[in-house]
């Protein structure tokens, strides 16, 4: 059975590229356009890894991570934040919220694949 991932990003093209990359890496990929949408999608589906942007309308990525951490079914699901912001402040906020790791854009498919495999073999 394939592993499942969700890509959360308000940019359609970014979602499609992440989805394409993770599909090539052997995942079935769900999509959501912001944190609220992600919670709805994840309400009915289990995933093995979450890849989320940070800057999104309605609910940002850090808030999404916090909310997922409160749900027992996602406590041990790796969550990667994918963002162009690479400052230590954001990394710290991500860690404090419970993110497993982070990847900085520009988006490199090989890097994303390797990191996802690292946290979700």
């Amino acid at each position: 059975m394939s592993k499942r991932a969700i890509t959360v990003d308000d940019s359609r093209s970014m979602r499609e590229m992440v989805a394409y990359t993770l599909t090539e890496a052997g995942f079935d990929v769900l999509q959501a356009e912001d944190g609220e949408d992600a919670l709805e999608v994840l309400g009915g589906n289990e995933v093995d890894v979450v890849v989320t942007d940070v800057n999104m309308p309605k609910m940002d990525g850090i808030t999404l991570v916090r909310k997922l951490q409160k749900k027992p079914e996602f406590k041990s699901t790796p969550i990667l934040i994918l963002t162009t912001e690479s400052g230590d402040d954001l990394k710290q906020r991500g860690r404090d919220a419970g993110a497993t790791g982070w990847i900085v854009k520009p988006f490199d498919p090989a890097k994303l694949t390797s990191v996802v495999h690292k946290v979700c073999p």
Partner: protein, 276 residues
């Protein structure tokens, strides 16, 4: 062909939508009416253009968009308060943004004077607030993708590899970072032997299932630079103790003696079984 090429058309479609949003928000923007929602919306639009531009390598677009985004970030965080002058700069920058996106889309050149003028205005704003740490961040062409910046570590060439001590904290495991995956990642860089320190494992009835009781001493014989294999620790460096020192001929001989369990063969990853 780059497999992501197929998404360029979608990216440019989105850029046009974002730029329309930016124009719309800017047209109503003034120091009196500026609100967080507008500022955040403009920031997100420009931020998304930057993300895609970076993926496709549109350097001039990246460089400008990054500056534009940095100013917008200062505004949305209220580190910089909006003025009529700044609104003018944003309007000019938005025009340049449109021109740069179109140039990237159609593989054309832009009016360099226009780009320079807007760039100077944005830089003036950014430099004016640089004492507050309003650092525009990486310049075009530089990325923070760690592996693309890794330079050969001169000291690695002079050693056989590295000795690594690794002790996860409970927080690492709570963030769904599995230590065995880290060890596997290290093993992928060369030949590895490991000793596990099990001395702090409590009795079964006292074990916290989310606790972290193991630590490992690792010898890694590798041509990889320290930077390359330290990537394995980039997420978790604050959630574990780890130390790295060069592995030389002397230390590698010592490491070959496991001492405690001489009759037990390490498995394919160099793990020595944990005694029960």
């Amino acid at each position: 062909m780059d497999p992501l090429e197929q998404f360029k058309a979608t990216f440019f479609e989105e850029c046009h939508e974002y730029l329309e949003d930016v124009e719309q928000e800017l047209s109503g923007l003034s120091p009196e009416t500026a609100d967080n929602e507008s500022l955040n919306a403009i920031f997100r639009a420009v931020h998304s253009i930057k993300g895609g531009a970076g993926t496709f390598g549109f350097d001039q677009l990246i460089e400008f968009t990054h500056r534009f985004e940095s100013v917008l970030d200062l505004l949305r965080s209220h580190e910089l308060e909006i003025t009529d002058e700044i609104v003018d700069v944003l309007l000019a920058s938005s025009d340049v943004q449109v021109a740069l996106v179109e140039a990237a889309e159609n593989d054309e050149t832009v009016n360099e004077e226009l780009v320079s003028a807007a760039t100077e205005m944005l830089d003036a704003i950014l430099n004016g607030d640089s004492t507050e740490g309003a650092d525009p961040g990486p310049a075009a062409g530089e990325t923070e993708n760690i592996e693309t910046l890794s330079e050969p570590n001169a000291t690695a060439a002079e050693t056989l590899g590295f000795k690594i001590g690794f002790k996860p904290h409970p927080d690492m495991i709570r963030r769904a970072n599995e230590p065995l995956l880290i060890l596997r990642e290290l093993a992928s860089h060369g030949d590895m032997t490991i000793e596990a320190d099990c001395s702090t494992i409590p009795a079964l009835e006292d074990i916290d299932p989310e606790g972290a009781y193991l630590s490992w001493s690792i010898s890694l014989t590798t041509d990889a630079s320290e930077d390359e294999f330290l990537e394995a620790f980039e997420f978790i460096s604050d959630d574990c103790d780890f130390d790295v020192s060069p592995l030389t001929d002397d230390t590698s001989d010592t490491q070959a003696e496991t001492g405690e369990m001489p009759d037990i063969e390490p498995d394919e990853f160099g793990f020595v079984p944990v005694p029960l």
